[in-house]
């Protein structure tokens, strides 16, 4: 099983530690992982803003770089979801990456299936269920749906010894980032971020963790604005802790 690691543009530039953690966890679990050189962005920011045509060359390039791997794994649910849902329309020829792209939580949970313990993390953490993880990748049961409850993020986090995992009230309401949404609808975006981080803080958690650094980035700005003292870590950073 060969895995191509995709580190999205904003993770590469702003949160390289999440890339490092992904690499460490995958290697620790004995995965044959490669970081293909020359990767940049999946094209999601432009497409969600209404410029899908600008995402096409990036999708074609992505397809070329990653098509020969068995899985394309990335520590970002919205990027994984974008590749899975939209690439078949963007890459005009046969698109292999759409079915191979997985968020790292999903990949670890469904394919690698590690059995704990995976080191210790003695903190109380509040899960931020990112929208595209919930409603496009199925990382957890959407609160809207009457289906059996599950949460793959929680399952993985519980592999850490000493961890206490909670969810905020309104467990999968959007944080209000939404890429270009946060610029076009600044006022609503900030209000959503404030409401969300208050609910995370109300759980008494020391750390907010989630499968998408863009949500965490938005929430950390909200926390700073409100003077809420709480930490932020990507799920994979917690998993990598102490490995």
């Amino acid at each position: 099983m060969r895995v191509g690691l995709f580190i999205p543009c904003y993770v590469d530039a702003a949160f390289p530690q999440i890339g490092v953690a992904s690499w460490k966890v995958l290697r620790h679990l004995g995965i044959d992982v490669t970081y293909p050189k020359g990767q940049t962005c999946c094209g999601q920011p432009m497409a969600n803003g209404g410029f899908e045509n600008k995402a096409v060359p990036l999708a074609v390039k992505f397809e070329k770089l990653f098509r020969d791997y068995d899985y394309v794994v990335t520590p970002s649910v919205s990027c994984a979801a974008f590749v899975r849902v939209n690439y078949p329309n963007l890459v005009k020829e046969e698109c292999l990456t759409a079915s191979k792209a997985m968020d790292i939580v999903e990949f670890l949970h469904d394919v690698v299936k590690p059995v704990g313990p995976l080191g210790s993390f003695p903190y109380k953490v509040s899960i931020h269920n990112s929208c595209h993880g919930v409603r496009e990748l199925g990382l957890s049961s959407p609160s809207e749906c009457n289906i059996p409850q599950f949460n793959k993020i929680k399952d993985l986090l519980l592999l850490k010894e000493g961890i206490k995992v909670v969810e905020p009230e309104r467990k999968d309401e959007c944080c209000g980032f939404g890429g270009l949404f946060s610029m076009e609808e600044k006022a609503v975006s900030e209000q959503m971020g404030a409401d969300k981080i208050r609910r995370h803080a109300a759980t008494g958690a020391q750390i907010v963790t989630g499968p998408d650094a863009s949500c965490l980035m938005h929430l950390s700005a909200s926390a700073k604005r409100l003077g809420i003292n709480i930490g932020f870590k990507h799920v994979v950073e917690i998993l990598a802790e102490g490995l």
């Binding site: 580190i7 490092v20 432009m46 209404g50 410029f51």
Partner: protein, 446 residues
Amino acid sequence: MSTAHSKKASAFLKNKDYTAWHDGTFWSVREKRDRMAAGLPEWEQLRDKASAIKRHTLSHLADYLEEFASNAEKNGVIVHWAADAGEFNAIVLEILRAHGVRKMVKSKSMLTEECGMNPFLEAHGIEVVETDLGERIIQLKGQKPSHIVMPAIHLSHDDVGRLFEEKGISDDIGNHDPTYLTWRARLSLRGEFLSAEAGMTGANFGIASTGDIVVCTNEGNADMSTSCPKLHIAAIGLEKIIPNYDSLAVFQRMLCRAGTGQPTTTYTSHFRGPRPGGEMHIVLVDNGRSSWLSDEDHRETLKCIRCGSCMNTCPVYRRSGGFSYSYFIPGPIGINLGMLRSPKDHSGNLSACTLCLSCQSVCPVKVNLGDQIYRWRQQLRDFGTYNMGKKMLSDTLSLGYGNKGLYDTATALFPAANIIPESVIPFRLRFPKKPFHSLIKELEDE
């Protein structure tokens, strides 16, 4: 990079207490809906079934419309066909004139709002009295509905109390108790029901196999509107037709659970024909619907049963209010219907979506509302209504991401951006010294 919606939303959000109340009120309706959905083990199957029935009906719409109309005529109903809002208004006016009607009572109908019927009839000297309490309140206030199911939800008891005092509906000045106000509204409306010469209803469903229309209300005002006057006119959009009573059973179980979190509406009224000595008219209105049906990307919108649950769940609607949207129907379904109506006039609503997709997970008939908003955004270029700032940003990103040399140079320069104050960049972005693609070289050697 602001939009028509974001400007109004920003003004709405200035009042933090009101925003919090608005958000909490609609979230509590969403929670009631969740409890109702959880109470039916077959909820998700019902959603699949409801979606399938709507798809089937819409793809055989001409046949079902004919069946509906011919059965309604057999029941003694006079059926009219209106191609657009103008024809609809003219047909209604003609019927009313033929009966010498000066006053018409009316139960809730978003279609008449869509067609601008009230101002049209009033301009021709016919008084139209709304009888749904929420609709009556905003009619007296001279406002538009802020929600399709709870049209006056944006007003407080005090707002309503003062309005009723001003209009002479209540005389106990300062008594803004909801029970008292409702009682005064009931007294006032009773007089209107008795003195009106015609009653109009909308319809939640038209049953093809029997020619019935079904109207769901909580106040019984549709029944009052049709059992006092002898003349009943029903306004119904083409997409409201469903095949038969079996399919009605599916929708009837979902409509109110999804919309208000009640197991059913208080009144589910079936109208099959005119009262003895009376007349019943059904006006079937197209007004764009048949052309939307031919739009492959957006025809799913026609499945909507107008429960309003997408508004209640939408995090943007809850924090920006119904009046922040330019179309008379707000929220996710309103964004989509507005674009079908006129992209030129309503593109400014497309920003009001984070693509969180809660709307389409809630929707009882599985309209893919968020996916369609994504598609509409791709079409803005064709309409010439895209945002230049956003386009330039996308162009720049695409150029930088498409060229590895440029990308490496840019990411190497990013740490310099750390000095940009947070007032300029709305989220905290602090760049570390080295991007991952530099760090990986050391990791690979380990």
